[in-house]
């Protein structure tokens, strides 16, 4: 069992994270899918800003010695395959791991069904029927084995590759370049998506959807807080749910991890946000859509275990650490999303 202070910090960070996810409608499935489907970039801007805020925060805290970075292991075959099928799954499930989780708190039963699929798919791949596939793609020997670094750098607590240590350069060079490029694009391409600023501050925070930049900065700060609280990583969603189902089935409280308390917090935080805003409603799509969402969740679960993380673990928390594993995994999540969105919504 993890210690009580970690349980509470997970729950507390989760509550705030869930609140921000619901208010910001922060879903990476929408963020990436809508680029090609609707030429909509609002959520993408929030994602980009959250990544930049965290990238600066993580490196600042690591430089000051508060944390060490833990980029994920680069199993290249697993990142490509796992990422791609995760991307397929999230379009079918109508939400990424974080989007699905916060929508459970809004009362969307389709997302609840997708979440059940995610947990089952994950456990199947971790320790069940598909575990051979996982060990095939994450082997200790052979062409698919992990690629590591002999000299990972001062800020990093393991031997995994980042954009910086693969070139033997100071990570701050990349932090600076990426920050300048992203901020320049966000400023130059700023559109008129801002919700019209009416109402009191209370209404803007609790009653309306947030502007993308509020969401981006809020989620970035929450990610930094998560890293400071947990020390071993920043935000993650899927691993928390796998631990939850594992603990339920085995009765072993050791299976509960920091992320389990985080995701429970997310559901509660999102529910609180939705109730205050008058957006909480138990609702469900038709049977065909429920089945589609279950299958999507199942595929996401398989993809998250093979690819070692979901969209949050890779794109939101891993890319800011400049992890090559997360850059590769994240890129294939986006490609899987685009391929599926094209087939489902854009042909004909």
């Amino acid at each position: 069992m993890i210690d009580t202070s970690l349980m509470f910090s997970g729950l507390a960070v989760g509550l705030i994270f869930g609140f921000a996810l619901q208010r910001g409608r922060f879903c990476m499935n929408s963020a990436f899918r809508d680029i090609i489907l609707m030429k909509e970039y609002t959520l993408l801007k929030a994602v980009a800003l959250a990544i930049v805020v965290q990238m600066i925060g993580f490196h600042l805290m690591a430089t000051m010695g508060y944390i060490q970075l833990y980029p994920k292991t680069l199993y290249w075959g697993a990142m490509i395959f796992g990422g791609f099928i995760f991307g397929i799954g999230m379009v079918l499930a109508a939400g990424c791991a974080s989007g699905t989780t916060y929508r459970v708190g809004e009362g969307m039963m389709g997302s609840f069904v997708a979440l059940l699929g995610l947990m089952i798919g994950g456990l199947m791949t971790k320790a069940g029927a598909l575990k051979e596939l996982k060990s095939y793609l994450q082997p200790t020997e052979g062409a698919l084995k992990a690629i590591t670094s002999d000299n990972p750098g001062d800020l990093i607590g393991n031997s995994n590759l980042t954009l910086a240590n693969v070139f033997g350069l100071d990570p701050w060079i990349f932090v600076a370049i990426i920050t300048i490029i992203v901020l320049a694009v966000l400023i130059l391409k700023r559109g008129d998506e801002e919700t019209k600023a009416e109402g009191t501050l209370y209404e803007k925070i609790f009653k309306r959807g947030w502007n993308w930049w509020v969401t981006g900065i809020a989620i970035g700060i929450i990610g930094i807080t998560a890293f400071l609280a947990f020390k071993k990583y920043a935000l993650g969603i899927s691993g928390g749910w796998f631990g939850f189902l594992d603990a339920l089935i085995t009765g072993d409280p050791e299976k509960l991890n920091w992320f389990t308390f985080l995701v429970i917090g997310v559901v509660i935080g999102a529910a609180i946000a939705a109730v205050i805003a008058g957006e909480f409603k138990l609702r469900a799509p038709d049977a065909k859509r429920l089945l589609q969402q279950f299958i999507g969740g199942l595929i996401m679960g398989v993809g998250a275990v093979i690819g070692t993380a979901c969209n949050i673990g890779h794109i939101l928390s891993g890319i800011p650490q400049l992890a090559l594993s997360s850059i590769l995994g994240g890129a294939f999540i986006v490609l899987g999303c685009w391929a599926t969105a094209y087939i489902m919504f854009m042909r004909g």
């Binding site: 959807g209 957006e279 609702r283 799509p285 859509r289």
Partner: protein, 80 residues
């Protein structure tokens, strides 16, 4: 606008998941004629914000985008 505009067609996408409310609205908007009014009923918050935004971007006129109840919205779009 005191009196309500009478919609030409009503699209009820309540219960539908992301991004079907948007996709179905777009399909409908393409089929309708200029000057006609489409009423969209939606209970998915992201689409309730995104549908008026994309309709305006395409040059349609959003006559109304209002919250009608807990987690429910009604959007009136006049086709360009």
């Amino acid at each position: 606008m005191s009196s309500d505009v009478k919609p030409t067609e009503v699209l009820d996408v309540r219960g539908e998941v992301c991004p079907y409310p948007d996709v179905k609205t777009q399909k409908k908007l393409k089929k309708m004629k200029s000057g006609e009014v489409l009423e969209v009923l939606v209970d998915y918050p992201l689409s309730a914000e995104r549908i008026p935004r994309s309709a305006e971007k395409q040059g349609h006129q959003v006559l109304k985008a209002e919250k009608t109840g807990t987690g429910e919205w009604r959007i009136l779009i006049k086709i360009k």
